[in-house]
Structures are given as C-alpha cells and as structure tokens.
C-alpha cells in the first residue's frame, strides 16, 4: 500500500482528516476534538491497525498562537508509518 492509498483510507474513515502537505511521510491533520475517536479508528480499522505509537511530540507556532501535537503511528501488521499532526 503506498502513501496515497493510505491517506485515502484515513480520509474515508475519519471525516475530519485532511492531508498534510510538506511531509516526507504520509500525514493527516485531525481537529483536536476528534483526536480520541480518530485514534481509536486508526487502531481498530483492520486495513490500518496502527498499533504502535512510535513517538509523540509537539510543534509550537508562537506566531499563530497555536501548537500542533504530532503522533507517529506504526502498524506492525502492515508496516506503514503515519504522522498525525492535529
């Protein structure tokens, strides 16, 4: 499964998700209020099954007065890595 297909599936199962540009790995944006449900779906949906949280970090954007949480997920079943900034 290449990154385009992966992002398509993520967008289909999680309505709030949008593709994130300028990233070397497949990445989607999710609004913060949908974080928990989106994470559950990413883990439980059998074509994704992201079961390992590789790392999580945050990017602070003081100019825009916001910060992004970044979750890096890995699927030991399918072997793809997904960045989920939101």
């Amino acid at each position: 499964m290449d990154s385009e297909e992966l992002l398509d599936i993520v967008e289909r199962i999680e309505s709030g998700a949008t593709k994130r540009e300028k990233s070397d790995r497949p990445a989607v944006h999710v609004p913060v209020d949908r974080l928990l449900s989106a994470m559950r779906r990413l883990r439980n949906y059998q074509w994704l099954s992201f079961d390992m949280l590789v790392t999580h970090t945050a990017i602070d954007w003081p100019d825009d007065n916001r910060f992004e949480l970044v979750y890096l997920l890995y699927s030991t079943v399918h072997g793809h890595l997904l960045e989920r900034p939101q």
Binding site: T76, V77, H78, G79, H80
Partner: protein, 246 residues
C-alpha cells in the same frame, strides 16, 4: 556444554509489517521437559570457574595496561582527538589567517578568534586565538572547517588542573599574519615588527590564568621559538585590559 544446549536455535520465517523475515528463536532451558540435576548445575558453575582459572594460569592473555606507569610507551592513533593545537611550518610560523570559520563551526562557542589590523600593511590578521578546553567537546568541527589547515587535534590527554582558568588557552605564540602572508615581506626588520609575542595564559578576561601564583597548565601548546623574528621587547601588560571574552 552445561545443562542446556546453546546451539539449539530454531530458524523460521515470520511475517511482520507485510514482510517475510528470517527469524532465529533463542534457546531456552525448559525444566519441565528436562529436569535440572544438581550435578548439571554444579558443572555449569565449574565450567565458568575453569575458564577464569585458565586466564589466571596464562598471563600472556591478560590485556591490562599499567597506566600511568606506561606513560612513556603509550601510543596514540594519529587521529586521536584530545587537545586543539596550532600547526606550524618549519620556521615556527602559524598558518591561521583569522577567517573565523572555526569560531562559526564550533557547536558550543569554545573558540574565540580575535583579529586586528596589521600595523604595517593594515591587513586583517590574527591577534589571539582563544580556545576553551573546559567547554570543548572534541567534535573536530573546527579542524574540519579550517580551509587553511592551520589547526589540528593533538594527543595530550592529561589536562586536569586545579583552577579552571588554566583551561583557557591562547593557542598562538605569535600574533601576526600567517606564514603565507609573512613570506611576501622581504625586509627582516619589517617582518619582526609585524608579529608580537603572545603567552599561553595571559590576556584579557577570562584568559587570565597567567596571574595565578604557582599554578601551571599541565598540557599547553608548545611555545615554538620563531627563529626569523627576534623578539626583544618586553611583554606588554596584558591582565585585565582589552575586550571581555566569554
């Protein structure tokens, strides 16, 4: 072998992340299928002891180095990085032009290059090359960044001192133009006036280790007597003057 066989490895294929991987499974002792007998357990211990006894009886296998008794015979690899020093040509002149590439490349600002304009030619030249051993992490970035091959990492590693001010070195014994620029000058009298002597520890704050009584740096850049430049003037008073370096 003792009570368990360490060569009992299981080779198999496993699937993970969409890939088929060759896998080797570790051996383990299973007390249910093969009860451990006291004899086996003691045998395992004795085998280990026999091994250590073997080393005791054959001293040629022992690799201990008798440091510091073997200081005289210690050999360092050529690239070993322990202390920053200047390279000198056959006349004892340095090659530094004061371009500050090393200062920019240094990750934690351990190098401060102070430059001046030459009194004779008004060219940009080196005044003081200050290196802080106390904050240096020996990453070799300065040596890699130097386009003139003027500095290198030396092998003197016993750098402990009693006062941390002694860890701040002025690396250059002579302030003045690099050897390449000095060679262009024909008149020996002018050449002498182009360069000034600098001490290893004297200089502006915090480079004032020279004022400490009875303390000497253990490892310092060797003072190379610059043969073509006869230094006759007494040292100028240096303590506490000049800009503050930090």
């Amino acid at each position: 072998m003792s009570f368990m066989d360490f060569t009992d490895l299981r080779y198999e294929k496993r699937t993970l992340g969409g890939k088929i991987l060759p896998v080797v499974v570790c051996p383990r002792f299973n007390p249910r299928s093969q009860p451990m007998r006291v004899f086996d357990a003691v045998k395992g211990l004795l085998q280990g002891m026999r091994l250590t006894l073997g080393y005791l009886l054959s001293p040629s296998k022992i690799v201990t180095q008798q440091y510091p008794e073997n200081r005289a015979t210690l050999k360092f690899p050529e690239r070993y990085r322990a202390i920053l020093k200047f390279k000198y040509d056959e006349n004892g002149l340095h090659k530094c032009t004061g371009c500050k590439n090393c200062e920019v490349a240094c990750p934690n600002a351990s190098i401060k290059v102070i430059t001046r304009d030459s009194v004779i030619t008004e060219d940009h030249e080196l005044d003081r090359y200050i290196w802080r051993l106390d904050s240096c992490m020996f990453c070799n970035a300065c040596v890699q960044a130097c386009p003139f091959d003027a500095i290198e990492m030396g092998h003197a590693f016993e750098n402990a001192v009693y006062d941390r001010r002694l860890l701040i070195y002025g690396l250059n014994p002579i302030a003045g133009p690099a050897a390449s620029a000095l060679e262009n000058e024909e008149d020996p009298e002018v050449r002498r006036r182009m360069s000034d002597p600098r001490t290893i520890l004297g200089g502006p704050i915090p480079l004032n280790g020279a004022g400490l009584p009875n303390l000497k740096p253990v490892a310092a850049a060797p003072f190379v007597d610059p043969l073509p430049i006869a230094v006759t003037d007494p040292l100028p008073p240096e303590d506490g003057e000049g800009e503050e370096v930090s």
